[in-house]
């Protein structure tokens, strides 16, 4: 068998692995500094600010085009969500009523009995 120390493919793979570890470790050290946090958050804050300004501008544009704004769409979505919630509640109540009256749920497969016991120590698994 070829010695792994002299196998060029294994050497290449080990080199990649070591490079990954080295770079990650170096980057971690740099990212643990307060300077990094400051720089990263300055850039992130600027991006978030720009995104907000762009959003405000877009809203004005949509208004001038007589199109619904994001806020209006959100309002509709909230109403839809509320309807979805109420439908879910009705469905749940119907299921409960069906279960209480002894009827099985439509399309529901029969459930296995809840009688399983853990296998004994060293025993055969069921």
């Amino acid at each position: 068998m070829t010695d792994k120390m002299n196998d060029p493919v294994a050497l290449w793979q080990r080199m990649i692995g070591e490079m990954e570890k080295g770079f990650n470790s170096l980057a971690t050290k740099a990212m643990e500094t307060p300077e990094f946090s400051q720089a990263m958050n300055r850039a992130g804050g600027a991006a978030a600010g720009a995104q907000k300004q762009f959003g405000d501008l877009m809203e004005k544009y949509l208004l001038s085009m007589n199109l619904p704004s994001r806020e209006q769409m959100t309002g509709i979505a909230e109403r839809l969500q509320s309807i979805e919630g109420q439908l879910g509640e009705i469905k749940s109540m119907l299921s409960q009523m069906s279960a209480a009256s002894g009827g099985s749920q439509i399309g529901a497969a029969p459930r296995p009995p809840r009688t399983k016991r853990p296998p004994s120590e060293g025993g055969e698994r069921k």
Binding site: M5, Q51, K52, Q81, G88, R114, K116, P119
Partner: protein
């Protein structure tokens, strides 16, 4: 063998032939890779028991003739999709549980809608989880429920268990769950209160975009994505490697946005004030002390977890009020602890042997 260099010259032609064959296979499989989609994930048969905004509750169809009395509710982390625990047949944690006789439910998350930016920590801890627990009780007809929380799903489960401590939770299992957020050094530095204006961010963007969440995860190991792509090219001739790569890569990049107010609370209460560790955490005005949790608990941590380092998770068991408590450290990383070939032989059997005897 050539003694000074250790090279076996007789093997060189064979090795060259093998490398040439692999190079050819790489070209063929490389084309195949880009022209096909990956394996179907999360395909274990299930029913959607309830869905409300960002929250979905699934019930997986039993795969055993006889099941344990106590159902299991898996609470997924809010940053990622639950199919990491249901990859493909043979590598699905959910399928494993079903075959071992558990009745499995999962609280999974979809991307919060823009109007859900106002969801707060209390919505997750005091509404979504209790709502799911109640529905599991109704559906299963059992009062007791075991809860399994993965990563931040574990944090939510801990908060729920510490507040509703006389409730239906019979057992609690946490996978890689941080409680000491100072020890998540890089995240802690990224969100340094001197430089990170969380109010400005949340007020500007509403929900925190998934790209930002993904970037912060990737920054923990900045070289790893590039190296994994090199490894993919080297191993593209190997179908099993490619299948595994595609599964994990798809999941890792399928990050969810976080509801704005919820993110604000995580940053201020956990990252800045470390309230869970300091026993000063409260949710919706109700104290959430870990010592209030009295149910049996298992905490599984990974030896090489770069997202939740052991230092961030190690005091969980000590701070829990239960008498029946155990921590198990297993080889692997944050994801390989719960999914993939290593999990199949390490975590899953351990969990089964711990939970089985507490599920009757």
């Amino acid at each position: 063998m050539n003694a000074p260099t250790g090279l076996d010259f007789a093997e060189i032609p064979e090795r060259i032939q093998s490398e040439v064959q692999r190079a050819i296979m790489r070209s063929i499989k490389g084309v195949e890779y880009f022209s096909t989609s990956g394996p179907t994930l999360g395909s274990t048969p299930k029913d959607v028991l309830h869905s409300r905004g960002t929250m979905s509750l699934y019930h997986y169809r039993p795969m055993s003739d006889e099941i344990y009395r106590v159902p299991v509710l898996i609470v997924m982390a809010t940053t990622n999709r639950g199919y990491i625990l249901d990859l493909v047949p043979g590598q699905s944690f959910v399928e494993f549980l079903l075959k071992r006789g558990y009745d499995v439910y999962m609280l999974d998350w979809t991307a919060p809608r823009p109007e859900e930016k106002s969801l707060r920590m209390e919505d997750y801890v005091l509404d979504f989880i209790p709502d799911c627990v109640r529905r599991v009780q109704q559906d299963s007809g059992e009062q007791d429920v075991s809860v399994i929380g993965y990563c931040f799903g574990g944090v939510l489960s801990l908060l729920y268990g510490s507040i509703v401590n006389d409730g239906p939770m019979k057992n609690l299992i946490c996978f890689t769950t941080p409680i000491d957020f100072r020890e998540m050094k890089l995240f802690s530095n990224f969100s340094d209160r001197r430089y990170f204006d969380v109010d400005r961010l949340v007020d500007s963007v509403g929900n925190v975009p998934p790209e930002m969440i993904l970037s912060s995860f990737e920054m923990l190991r900045p070289a790893s994505r590039t190296v994994s792509q090199i490894q993919l090219w080297e191993n593209i001739w190997n179908d099993e490697f490619v299948k595994s790569y595609r599964m994990f890569d798809r999941w890792a990049t399928d990050t969810l946005p976080l509801a704005g107010e919820y993110f604000r609370a995580i940053t201020k209460d956990l990252m800045w004030d470390n309230k869970l560790f300091n026993d000063t955490m409260s949710v919706g005005g109700r104290a959430a002390k870990l010592e209030n949790i009295k149910v049996p608990i298992l905490h599984a941590v990974a030896e090489h977890d770069h997202i939740v380092p052991y230092d961030a998770a190690k005091y969980l068991i000590a701070k829990i009020g239960s008498e029946d408590k155990e921590e198990v450290m297993l080889k692997g990383g944050h994801v390989s602890l719960v999914a993939g070939a290593n999990a199949v032989k390490r975590l899953w059997p351990k969990l089964d042997s711990w939970l089985g005897k507490r599920s009757t």
